[in-house]
Amino acid sequence: MDNVLEVRNLSKSFPGFQLKDVSFTLPKGYIMGLIGPNGSGKTTTIKLILNMLRRDGGAVKILGMDNIADEKAVKEELAVVFDSNYFCGDWTVAQTETAVSGFYKKWNAERFHQLLKRFGIDPAKKVKDLSRGMQMKLMLACAFSYGAKLLILDEPTSGLDPVSRDELLTVLSEYIEDGERSVLFSTHITGDLERAADYITYINCGSLFFTGGKDEFVDSFRIVKGGLNDLTGELRKRLIGLRTHPTGFEALMRTEELENLRRTGRGGRMAGGTAADDLTVEPATIDEIVVFTSKTGTF
């Protein structure tokens, strides 16, 4: 079994929101970023994977097991970090271990204490007295202490300072180093993913927009800038999230569209009648892709 997580045609309806036919696959040994603007369906997807919400359709397989039929076995192999603490605030760190460890057959107390030491968490402290970053690390320490094969993080970096975010990425890179374990990382702070993520799944308005390699994702878009007179109708049709200002415009464009325009153009002019050289074309960041694509709502 080379896929740690397989999501097929996952669907769920709420009043006013619909997650439609979301499918993606996460092979073992890699980090996948789950991205999209707030309210796009990231947390819904994660809660469906955890069977906290009941799916209307589709299937979720973790290590080849159905997430509902084999829920218990699945959750032994699954660790989750949410955006905020989910332990009882009145527990001390040590009591948290006592309360939770009994549920896992493979709980490794020694490892847990090593991690506490590494993260600088005082076992005698109450959970509610830990900083946000420390609470996140406590959830991570628990997550790493029973040999889970899949780690799911739901917006773990929102509200964290840059130091903690960097530490998190270090820990995640170590986690997947042996090539057996994977990470699904939902975030709207895409800078975190720019380097470390191997795959990207981008959900927008409840629909899957892209899933695949991160480099491929970033590579399939370009930022196009130019003067207003370059903005011909033909070009305009192909631009995503167009923003104009008195001195020019900027927009996102699919790399293949850009190349098509260039190819079909004659005499140094693109098919749209715009001189190809007049446009400034730059590589896009994940952030820019999300910003431009969610502006229009159409792709």
Binding site: K47, L50, N51, M52, L53, R54, E71, K72, A73, V74, K75, E76, L78, A79, V80, F82, S84, N85, Y86, F87, C88, G89, D90, W91, Q95, T98, A99, V100, G102, F103, Y104
Partner: protein, 215 residues
């Protein structure tokens, strides 16, 4: 069963920070008993206080957003429910035993005589009262939460007030009571059967509610 025990243990840890409040709640009725000098109403009071405590596990887990922890742990939802009932039931049993002994001791110290029929009636009233409080409250909290289901918190108090109201009207010499108390084995069997059925129904409802709940 193992899963149920683990879930009960987790609930126990939820209550642990509140042990002082819980001990206080069980101790207060002792004062009442020493004033009112009635074992039956004292025990009913104690079980009412404990009935109120059965909302604590819900309140604590809601306050801490722990439904997400329940969603992560490798434990089936029905076992979470079983565990919660197990802990609540166990606490009720221990509190009843403790209260019976301590309240009798208080009354003895005050030179009151406690008759066997009083002890039996107190135990039966305590068990019945607590069962009623629990079997209605718990599914209510599962369905509406402790905030939405705030009215369920009044069940124990209402129940206790009703007990107080009705208790003086029972004629200790009535033939019906005598007949009932005259068959202690039958009485205990009936009470146990009634309580078991009530708990089973309540557990069943709670499991169904939690299973369909989206968290």
């Amino acid at each position: 069963m193992n899963e149920t025990l683990k879930a009960a243990r987790l609930d126990f840890f939820l209550l642990r920070p509140y042990w002082k409040t819980i001990c206080f709640s069980i101790a207060v009725p002792l004062v009442y008993t020493s004033v009112a000098r009635s074992l039956v109403s004292g025990i009913s009071f104690a079980m009412c206080m404990l009935g109120i405590i059965s909302s604590y596990t819900f309140a604590v887990s809601e306050k801490n957003g722990m439904e997400r922890l329940y969603g992560v742990l490798p434990v089936a939802r029905r076992h979470l429910v079983f565990g919660r009932y197990l802990l609540i039931g166990l606490m009720g049993f221990l509190a009843l035993v403790f209260s019976l002994i301590s309240h009798m001791a208080v009354l003895r110290a005050l030179a009151e005589t406690v008759e066997v029929w009083e002890i039996a009636t107190s135990a039966v009233m305590g068990i019945l009262g607590y069962t009623v409080y629990v079997v209605f409250q718990v599914p209510g909290y599962y369905k509406f939460g402790t905030v939405g289901g705030k009215m369920f918190q009044f069940i124990p108090v209402t129940g206790y007030l009703l007990t107080l109201l009705l208790l003086p009207r029972v004629d200790p010499d009535s033939p019906v009571l005598a007949a009932v108390l005259g068959q202690p084995a039958l009485l205990i069997a009936a009470v146990v059967l009634l309580c078991v059925l009530a708990y089973l129904a309540s557990v069943g409802i709670s499991v169904r509610i939690l299973r369909n709940k989206e968290i």
